[in-house]
């Protein structure tokens, strides 16, 4: 069930009405939420109804970690959780690969985000950063939380449990903000990301030999914007859907293409993923203070190589991860050498341009269907052919619009959310209807799958 498609919203409204009806009883609400989570999983395929079994193991491991004092026992319990979740993650990535895609149809939902989120629970418990929940219902509500199941953001289970532990609270401001987030997410996904994918990016990447260097370059920039609007559109809808249930999901994007170096890019792009990598992988890797460049360099490389492979077991994702790992190493080394706290404006501008183009260069590998496809794109860029016949005014207009929207200050969202919250209910409803009809008119019917839904 795509969360940008109509059936999801029918489902969401049904869940919300039931959930709100039980506003006086947290248990009832949790029961509704768990049923909704299970239905959401089953909607992808009934085989996903086996997932609560894995979640149950983590719940029991959590109870065990709450009571166990012996380090050996705690390590064993953590190992069980790691084996379960990493095994599930690796299995889902490897089975289609090892069977040449013959069984890919069985796994229509990627469980990467589930696995990452579940691991935050048992690892945090292992390090004593939280107490386990004793409510099975609450755990299933949080671990299988449907708005973030498909493509994140990756919340810490601890933070979801904290919210579920409180009494239900939902203000008119929350309602306005949630509807605004969903509206923005739909526009981002259906009007911008899908348009760019269908009318520029897909064509350039599928048949690069048919395009000039200029068109390929614009296609690569277009992909950078398509990916941002696709993923941040998903995140906005997920955050809006969660907010309707009184749950705040963490922020995932902060105008990433304005970053002045790759390190800052990762503080702005897919924030919950990079924070997960930082807290649960990078920080855990051993480092020697004597050789900071070497030890941090290798830690960056390991972290982002694995981060790359998380997206899929392929050479293209491996190259993408290695490139980012190396770039972070370079930034780290540069910072140690230069030690300039706040560079001049021109240095920031130059850094921003270099960073954006580097990120776009790595997106070529991220998007390409194979290394050969990526090399075709790069060869096309290097051919220095200048025709721009395929860049229609509409495509260029959408690209410029997308670039401008990407740069909107966060404050504008807060102001808009305030307006949305204060607006009468009928204005809110009619505004949302106008958004839906506008999308149906401009973009036709339907929605392409989310890019990150594949990971």
């Amino acid at each position: 069930m795509l969360i940008s498609a109509a059936p999801f919203f029918v489902f969401l409204v049904a869940v919300c009405l039931l959930y709100w009806a039980g506003a006086g009883s947290r248990h009832f609400q949790l029961a509704v939420l768990v049923a909704a989570n299970l239905f959401f999983l089953a909607r992808f395929s009934l085989i996903y109804l086996a997932l609560p079994l894995f979640a149950t193991v983590d719940f029991l491991v959590g109870l065990g970690l709450g009571g166990a004092q012996r380090p050996a026992m705690r390590r064993l319990l953590l190992a069980i959780s790691l084996a379960i979740n990493l095994g599930l993650l690796a299995g889902l990535k490897l089975v289609p690969l090892l069977t040449a895609g013959r069984f890919a149809w069985l796994f229509t939902l990627s469980l990467s985000f589930y696995c990452f989120q579940s691991l935050t629970y048992t690892i945090d418990l292992y390090f004593g950063e939280m107490q386990p929940t004793r409510s099975y219902l609450t755990y299933l509500g949080a671990a299988l939380f449907f708005p973030s199941m498909t493509a994140g953001p990756i919340p810490r289970t601890r933070k979801l449990l904290e919210q579920f532990a409180r009494p239900f609270a939902f203000s008119a401001e929350d309602g306005g903000t949630a509807l605004l987030l969903i509206g923005i997410g739909l526009v981002k996904k259906l009007l911008i990301a899908d348009y760019l994918a269908n009318n520029l990016v897909g064509r350039v990447f599928d048949t690069p030999a048919l395009y000039s260097s200029v068109e390929i370059l614009v296609g690569v920039y277009g992909y950078a914007l398509q990916l941002f609007f696709d993923f941040s559109g998903y995140t906005d809808i997920a955050m809006g859907a969660a907010l309707l249930l009184g749950i705040q999901l963490p922020e995932n994007f902060r105008r990433p293409y304005l970053a002045v170096n790759v390190a800052e890019f990762w503080r702005r792009w897919h924030i919950t993923f990079s924070e997960w990598l930082r807290d649960y992988l990078f920080d855990v890797l051993p480092k020697r203070r004597k050789f900071p460049l070497l030890s941090y360099g290798y830690a960056f490389l390991i972290t982002f190589t694995l981060g790359g492979l998380w997206h899929g077991i392929s050479w293209t994702f491996l190259i993408w991860g290695v490139l980012h790992g190396l770039a972070l190493g370079v930034v780290f080394a540069w910072k140690r050498v230069r030690k300039i706290p706040s560079p001049e404006w021109w240095a920031r501008l130059l850094g921003g341009l270099i960073t954006f183009n580097f990120v776009c260069f790595t997106w070529v590998f991220f998007r390409a269907s194979s290394v050969e496809n990526a090399l075709s794109i790069l060869r096309g860029l290097g051919a220095l052919t200048w025709s721009a016949d395929n860049l229609t005014p509409v495509v260029l207009g959408v690209l410029v619009l997308a670039a401008v929207i990407h740069c909107f200050p966060p404050r504008w969202f807060e102001v808009s959310a305030g307006w949305a919250a204060r607006a009468p209910f009928w204005v809110q409803g009619l505004a949302m209807a106008a958004v839906v009809l506008l999308i149906q008119t401009l973009a036709g019917r339907g929605s392409a799958p989310f890019v990150y839904g594949n990971f």
Binding site: P7, F170, E264, F425, A433
Partner: protein, 507 residues
């Protein structure tokens, strides 16, 4: 020390990392619920009263609450589409029909090529095929594969016809890299009136300073024939080979007509250049030949083209001259993808438009067999997360099949050969992807499959023709529709061969 915590400060965040407890609003959120009710009512009202295609589709409710077990995907090309061989003559296969045996002259010409191939001193001549089509043809994807395989089997007579310049970046012709500058381009797309265009439906007007270069990347070509518009007050252009001028040609003439100049190319020519040298010239295309017998497969695609280009746009007198020069043994008419966007046109006018196109082709290329090739599947995303076939595509295919039968043309049903309904969903989901994200154009891999399907069916037709003429089929031919009768005596085969040759000459 952490991965992203260098000395600088990150941008300010909006939204708390740890959500704070909220003080109010613990009951049923009536305002938000009412907003949703208004939203739903507006969407229902819009669909009910204003636009039946927008708003809330009632099917969504059933779809939302339907659960399914996972289903394995259908094969890329269902076996039923490719393995349905002819049970009895005259039908070739369900996806390839030629009930009036209209392709016989073409098959006879191919047979002549096949017979004489490799025999010293014997020439089978040149069998030219013109393939008129829309954007997939423009990029020479399907046609390029068909050309390669036909030339591999029957001989390579040359790269064939290319436009003088690239009207679109994705215009291409396999084996010829085209670069150009300074041409004013016109095509017959989107017009409803006759105009002056070349064989390929495009014209390029240029003055001194304009140029085109054709880099020959595959086989050696021995000559190029440049097609141009001769007219009173015409200018001149030159043709060079590897920067050595070969010919300077005037386009000045007493009356307006299409003309061509045959330019022999020195052995080993890598780049052919064409440039206006004086006045204004209007050029149409460059036809590369090898001077050997074999097949030519001219890819005549125009981006956005519809059947109307043949039915109404190409000026008949000039088109007839161009067709006579090209001397095709077969003309493929391959439109329909662009028409599929206009349902009303398809319902009301498409059949008449196709009949008119075929009638005009018959008038301008009398006796040349015509093969109507249906469009590929074309997908669109439905409101239910799925890619489905555009409803007009099967309708167009049915009309084409009917009109082809009425007008005694052969017909290849690309859509059903690919697997019919839902093909785009399967092909888009394949790895590697077989169609692009617009669910209309094939990727090179997809084009190769379509070319293979077309050739397979054409091979079935060829084999049927051979059987009808008592020619035994080669045992290794994979496209043998039925058991080949190999018992015929050599003398009988010789008679059949002579009959075929005679028939080809007659046609």
């Amino acid at each position: 020390m952490a991965i992203f915590d260098f000395s600088e400060h990150g941008p300010a965040t909006h939204g708390p990392d740890t959500p704070a407890p909220k003080p109010s609003g613990a009951g049923f959120p009536f305002k938000t619920a009412l907003a949703i009710v208004v939203l739903a009512a507006a969407l229902v009202g819009w669909r009910w009263k204003l636009d039946h295609g927008k708003g809330i589709d009632p099917n969504i409710f059933a779809e939302t609450f339907t659960l399914r077990w996972p289903q394995p995907p259908a094969p890329i090309v269902p076996k039923t589409a490719t393995t349905r061989k002819s049970e009895k003559l005259p039908q070739i296969s369900p996806v390839f029909t030629d009930d009036s045996n209209s392709l016989d002259p073409f098959f006879a010409a191919l047979w002549k090529l096949e017979q004489n191939r490799g025999q010293q001193g014997k020439e089978g001549g040149v069998v030219a095929i013109l393939h008129y089509g829309d954007s997939p043809t423009t990029a020479d994807l399907i046609t390029g594969d068909v050309r390669a395989q036909m030339q591999n089997r029957f001989g390579d007579a040359g790269r064939g016809y290319t436009l003088i310049a690239k009207p679109w970046a994705w215009y291409g012709h396999r084996g010829v890299e085209i670069s150009d500058h300074g041409w004013k381009m016109r095509t017959g797309v989107g017009l409803m009136r006759e105009g002056i265009y070349g064989l390929g439906g495009a014209a390029f007007e240029g003055q001194s300073g304009a140029w085109s270069k054709f880099k020959l990347t595959e086989s050696q070509q021995t000559a190029v024939e440049v097609e141009y518009l001769a007219k009173p007050g015409g200018g001149t252009f030159e043709v060079d080979a590897d920067d050595q001028r070969i010919v300077e040609q005037t386009t000045d003439a007493g009356i307006q007509t299409t003309a061509s100049v045959h330019v022999p190319l020195p052995a080993g020519t890598k780049v052919v250049g064409i440039r206006p040298t004086a006045g204004t010239v209007t050029l149409f295309g460059a036809d590369f030949r090898r001077g050997t017998s074999g097949t030519l497969y001219d890819s005549l695609g125009l981006n956005g083209a519809t059947t109307t280009v043949l039915a109404r746009v190409l000026q008949p007198v000039l088109w007839k001259q161009e067709l006579e020069r090209a001397a095709p043994a077969l003309i493929v008419v391959n439109y329909g993808s662009n028409e599929s966007s206009f349902g009303s046109f398809v319902h009301k006018q498409y059949a008449a438009e196709l009949r008119l196109a075929i009638q005009r082709l018959r008038q301008n290329a009398p006796g040349v067999p015509i093969l109507v090739m249906s469009p590929m599947d074309r997908g669109e995303r439905s409101g239910l997360d799925e890619i489905e076939t555009m409803s007009t595509i099967p309708e167009i295919v049915a009309i084409q099949r009917q009109v082809a039968a009425e007008t005694h043309c052969a017909f290849f049903d690309t859509y059903d050969a690919m697997g019919g309904d839902g093909t785009m969903a399967r092909w888009y989901g394949a790895s590697p992807r077989l169609v692009t994200a617009d669910l209309l154009h094939p990727t090179p891999q997809g084009a190769s499959i379509v070319a293979g399907l077309f050739l397979e069916q054409l091979g079935l037709g060829y084999n049927r023709w051979k059987m009808q003429h008592g020619i035994s089929l080669p045992a290794e031919n994979p496209a043998t529709p039925e058991k080949a009768d190999t018992s015929k005596a050599p003398s009988q085969q010789k008679n059949v061969k002579q009959h075929a040759q005679k028939k080809a000459r007659t046609e």
